[in-house]
C-alpha cells in the first residue's frame, strides 16, 4: 500500500471518521428494515421443518371397545404414538379412587371420562420410553418409573403423570381419540 495516493488515504480516513455519523437515521432505518426482512425470510425455512399438513391432518383413531374383558389392556397408535386403553376392574377403580397418586397428584375422576376405561398416552414423561404393563400399573424399562392404574407417577425419575389424550365416546363401546 506504500504508493497509495492521497485521495485514497483521504477516502479511507473519511470512512473511519464516518463511524460516528453511522448512527444517523437513514442507516439505522435501513439496517432495521433489512434485519426485519432477513428474519422474516428465515421463517418459511424454519416453518418447513414443522409437521407437514398431511401429518397435522392425520385422522383421529377409532377404538372399538367391544370384546375387551375387564382387566384387558390394548395399545393403539394415535398420530404414531402408542396409546394405552385399559378396561379397569371394579377393584382397580376402587383402589384408584382412594388415591391421589404420587409426585403429580390428581384425583382419578379427572383422568377418565368413564371410570371403567382409562385412556393414556403410553410415553414415559421422563425420557420417552414406552412403559410395560404390570399388575398395579406400569413400569418403565428405561429408568424404572412406576405408574399406577390411573397412569399417575408413583416413583422413579418421571416428573409427570402419563398424558391423557383428547378423546370422546362416539358410542358406549367406541371411543375416538383425537
Amino acid at each position: 500500500m506504500a504508493a497509495m495516493g492521497v485521495v485514497e488515504d483521504q477516502a479511507m480516513a473519511e470512512s473511519d471518521e464516518v463511524d460516528e455519523e453511522r448512527r444517523d437515521f437513514l442507516l439505522t432505518a435501513t439496517g432495521t428494515v433489512g434485519v426485519v426482512g432477513v428474519a422474516a425470510a428465515c421463517w418459511p425455512f424454519i416453518s418447513s421443518m414443522n409437521p407437514t399438513l398431511d401429518v397435522q391432518a392425520q385422522a383421529a383413531t377409532d377404538v372399538d371397545l367391544s370384546g375387551m374383558a375387564a382387566g384387558a389392556t390394548r395399545t393403539v397408535a394415535w398420530r404414531g404414538k402408542p396409546v394405552f386403553v385399559v378396561h379397569r376392574t371394579p377393584e382397580q377403580i376402587a383402589a384408584m379412587a382412594q388415591s391421589e397418586g404420587g409426585r403429580d397428584p390428581a384425583p382419578d375422576q379427572t383422568r377418565v371420562r368413564d371410570a371403567r376405561w382409562l385412556v393414556v398416552v403410553g410415553i414415559c414423561t421422563h425420557l420417552g420410553c414406552v412403559p410395560n404393563k404390570t399388575e398395579s400399573g406400569w413400569l418403565c424399562p428405561c429408568h424404572g418409573s412406576v405408574y399406577d392404574n390411573s397412569g399417575r407417577i408413583l416413583h422413579g425419575p418421571a416428573p409427570r403423570n402419563l398424558e391423557v389424550p383428547p378423546y370422546h365416546f362416539a358410542a358406549p363401546d367406541k371411543i375416538v381419540i383425537g
Binding site: 477516502a11 437513514l26 432505518a29 428494515v33 385422522a59
Partner: protein
C-alpha cells in the same frame, strides 16, 4: 439484459405459438362458487375413470364446502382416486386415464386445453364420436356435448369452464396464498431498495 429479454420473448413466442392456436378462448370463472360447482362436476363425472390423486377430500374444505358436503363426497383423509380400478380402465380404453391433478399445468394452454377438449366432441359421418382437439380419443363424451343442441350447449360450456377452473385450482392450490405473499414481499423489497438507494447515494456523496 437485452439479450435475456430477447431470448425470453423469442422463447415464449415460440413455445406458445404452435400449441395454442387450436384452443378455444375462454374466460375461466374462478369464483369460489364456480370452483365448488367445478369440484362437483369433476368428482361426480371425471372421477369415475380419472384420479386427482394429489388432492385429498379434506383439501376441498379450502373451497368453503361444509364438512358434511365434503364427507358425502368421500373420506376426508383419502385422496381423490378413480372409482374404476386402473386395470379395468386399461382393458376398456387401452391405457390408464391420466391423473388430473396436474393436467392444467402439464398441457400447453392449461385450462383452455381442458375446456377445448370437453367441448370438442362431435359425431362424424359414420356416427362415431370423435374429438376436434384430440382425434381418436378413447374417452367418452362425458358432458354429452356432441348430442346437445345450442341451448343445452350454453349450459354445458359453463360446466366445462367450471371444471377447467377447478382443475387449474387443483394443479396450483396455493396460487392465492402465493400471490398475496408476493404483493407483501415486493412492497417490502421496494421499500428496502429505495432506502438502500438513498444510503448508496449518501455514502458516495462523500467522495465529491
Amino acid at each position: 439484459m437485452k439479450l435475456r429479454a430477447l431470448i425470453c420473448v423469442l422463447l415464449c413466442a415460440a413455445s406458445t405459438a404452435w400449441a395454442e392456436n387450436a384452443l378455444k378462448d375462454v374466460d375461466l370463472d374462478s369464483s369460489p362458487a364456480a370452483l365448488r360447482r367445478g369440484a362437483v362436476t369433476v368428482t361426480s363425472r371425471c372421477l369415475s375413470c380419472h384420479s386427482v390423486k394429489y388432492l385429498h377430500y379434506r383439501d376441498l374444505l379450502k373451497l368453503d364446502f361444509s364438512r358434511e358436503e365434503v364427507m358425502s363426497m368421500g373420506n376426508l383423509e383419502s385422496a381423490l382416486l378413480a372409482l374404476t380400478p386402473a386395470e379395468v380402465s386399461e382393458q376398456a380404453y387401452g391405457r390408464v386415464p391420466p391423473d388430473l391433478s396436474l393436467l392444467a399445468k402439464a398441457r400447453e394452454g392449461g385450462p383452455r386445453y381442458i375446456y377445448t377438449l370437453l367441448t370438442g366432441f362431435y359425431q362424424d359421418q359414420t356416427g362415431e364420436i370423435n374429438n376436434h382437439l384430440y382425434p381418436g380419443i378413447r374417452m367418452p363424451d362425458i358432458l354429452g356435448w356432441s348430442g346437445a343442441d345450442s341451448t343445452q350447449r350454453a349450459a354445458l360450456a359453463i360446466q366445462a369452464n367450471e371444471a377447467a377452473a377447478f382443475l387449474m385450482w387443483a394443479a396450483d392450490p396455493r396460487a392465492d396464498e402465493r400471490k398475496s405473499l408476493g404483493y407483501y414481499t415486493i412492497a417490502y423489497l421496494a421499500l428496502l431498495t429505495g432506502l438502500l438507494y438513498l444510503v448508496k447515494r449518501k455514502v458516495w456523496a462523500r467522495l465529491k
